[in-house]
């Protein structure tokens, strides 16, 4: 059995198990105080960062197929949902542990803190995507509508990276890295849109004149 057939036959349920294990694992390490001097911030950042990483992986699957002929389409829904579960965990740590369930703090954060506002919208944007990431919704919805809803993932990812930039004190290596990845993904996406193709054929036509 070659590597690729092994990979293709990997059951989705196993993939869910593997990719989601860090959520309870990190939480357990937090409880037994294995996450360093500031376990709360560590857990909050770790869930958020992993959420962003899985979002970026989800977005890379279609360009990977197109440009590198690596087909991971079968796992896209799984990885996208995993990203969502990490982000839900991230929001839970913020709400239950960081601000300690305080609605007052939540409201004042939502009024004043740009990074919270942006992060909040990123989270809200992802909810309809998560709710429609199943066969039932796929059958019920017109494929065009479904595609439209799911193109919001680009907006959510851009908002997520802004959320990350806004909460950072300065530009770190990780920030440059994630921003570079999202820019590459966006360039590839824009190149594949109909509008871009139209525009570029026009400009090519201009040059040939």
């Amino acid at each position: 059995m070659t590597f690729s057939t092994l990979f293709r036959s990997l059951p989705i349920s196993l993939l869910y198990c593997v990719l989601l294990t860090p959520i309870p694992l990190y939480f357990y390490w937090g409880i037994v105080n294995e996450l360093g001097p500031d376990p709360l911030r560590y857990l909050e950042h770790k869930y958020g960062e992993l959420g962003l990483i899985f979002l970026l992986i989800t977005l890379s699957i279609s360009p990977l197929l197109k440009y590198a002929k690596i087909n991971l389409m079968r796992y896209r829904r799984c990885i996208g949902l995993v990203a969502f579960y990490y982000i839900v965990s991230h929001v839970c740590v913020y709400f239950f542990l960081d601000i300690g369930l305080s609605i007052d703090l939540l409201l004042s954060d939502l009024q004043k803190r740009y990074y919270i506002i942006v992060g909040f919208f990123a989270f809200i944007t992802l909810i309809p995507l998560a709710l429609t990431s199943n066969n039932f919704a796929l059958r019920k919805l017109n494929i065009k509508t479904w595609n439209k809803i799911h193109s919001f993932v680009y907006i959510a990812t851009i908002l997520s990276i802004f959320h990350f930039i806004l909460m950072s004190k300065t530009w770190t290596g990780e920030l440059y890295f994630y921003t570079a990845i999202i820019i590459i993904i966006l360039i590839l996406k824009i190149k594949s849109t109909k509008i871009y193709k139209k525009l570029s054929t026009y400009s090519n036509a201009d040059i040939s004149k």
Binding site: N33, D38, R41, L105, S108, K112, M167, K169, T170, T172
Partner: protein, 312 residues
């Protein structure tokens, strides 16, 4: 508030330890007990035993040495809190010279040993509040900065003191990158620098200062956000004008020259009303941040009549 003040008075009762006989860490707790006993007897002259006891049963418990040495902002070694513990060993702190500017004496360069010699080395258990919204309690070893300034022939009309961290990209890996405008610089008004709370730390928990905490010579200004307490100092200048300071130049809207701890003046991007206490674990409660980090009785007069929202 009262408890807080009593704590400071407590830490003012100088624990006269010579740097040379600083205790190894495993003997440290015994030494503390001994010092406490000493403090109790000396304080008995001025206060009731009950009040004296309060001085030393610190309401704010010091963080562990593991916490203090593994959770650091020292961007010269990387921007992650764990980077300094990983990479700071590459800094050579011996020999170490400090250059002074704005003094009239001929000798302007001093070896750190010359500076420490003859100083009454003390312990100060101070709160440290980071501008990022977390706090620690740290038992520093060192001497008040004023003890050093008073030995120098400082120029007349000095209004500010500027400090500079060492610049050695070969030993401080992040200095190879333009994360900040190196070298790191900080400053105080001369009144702030001469305040008895303003401290030079050369040790921690009865040991020599670990590199990640700013060895071998760092500033500690407990009523200001942590970034004012500049680490690994090689240059001190006495100036007439307000000096360049790194963070306030990097982002003047977010970080001011004064940067006094103040729960009523938010950072533009986050609240400063509360802080997470390091060491409280995953389910720890937030602590209400106090004006001047709880040192209002000591330093309030320095800022009398000042608009703290304008001069943040």
């Amino acid at each position: 508030m009262r408890n807080e003040v009593v704590n400071i008075i407590g830490s003012h009762i100088l624990k006269i330890l010579k740097y040379s006989d600083v205790t190894p860490y495993n003997l440290y707790l015994d030494r503390r007990k001994f010092v406490e006993a000493l403090g109790l007897t000396s304080l008995a002259f001025v206060a009731t035993p009950i009040a004296a006891k309060q001085n030393y049963s610190t309401r704010a418990k010091a963080n562990t040495i593991e916490e203090i040495t593994n959770y650091n902002n020292f961007y010269e070694f990387g921007t992650s809190k764990t980077d300094p513990a990983k990479y700071a060993h590459s800094l050579r702190t011996n020999p170490w010279e400090i250059t002074f500017e704005g003094i009239s004496q001929n000798k302007k360069k001093f070896d750190i040993a010359e500076i420490i010699k003859g100083k009454a080395i003390q312990e100060r258990v101070y709160r440290l509040r980071c501008v990022e919204g977390w706090s620690m309690v740290i038992p520093w070893i060192g001497f008040p900065l004023r003890d050093l300034i008073n030995e120098l022939e400082v120029d007349n009309n000095t209004k500010f003191v500027a400090f500079e961290t060492v610049y050695r990209p070969e030993e401080m890996r992040e200095q190879k990158r333009a994360t900040l405008d190196w070298p790191y610089r900080e400053g105080l008004t001369i009144e702030e620098a001469l305040h008895p709370l303003t401290f030079i730390a050369t040790g921690l928990y009865g040991k020599e200062l670990p590199n990640q905490n700013g060895a071998p010579f760092r500033l500690v200004v407990p009523w200001k956000y942590g970034f004012k307490s500049i680490k690994s100092i090689t240059k001190i200048s006495f100036k007439k004008e307000q000096p360049y300071t790194t963070w306030s130049s990097e982002n003047p809207r977010e970080y001011g020259f004064y940067s006094n701890v103040n729960p009523n003046v938010d950072h533009p991007r986050w609240s400063q009303a509360t802080e997470r206490v390091i060491g409280e674990g995953l389910f720890g409660k937030r602590r209400k941040t106090e004006l001047f980090n709880g040192y209002i009785e000591e330093v309030g007069d320095l800022y009398k009549g000042m608009d703290l929202k304008k001069y943040y």
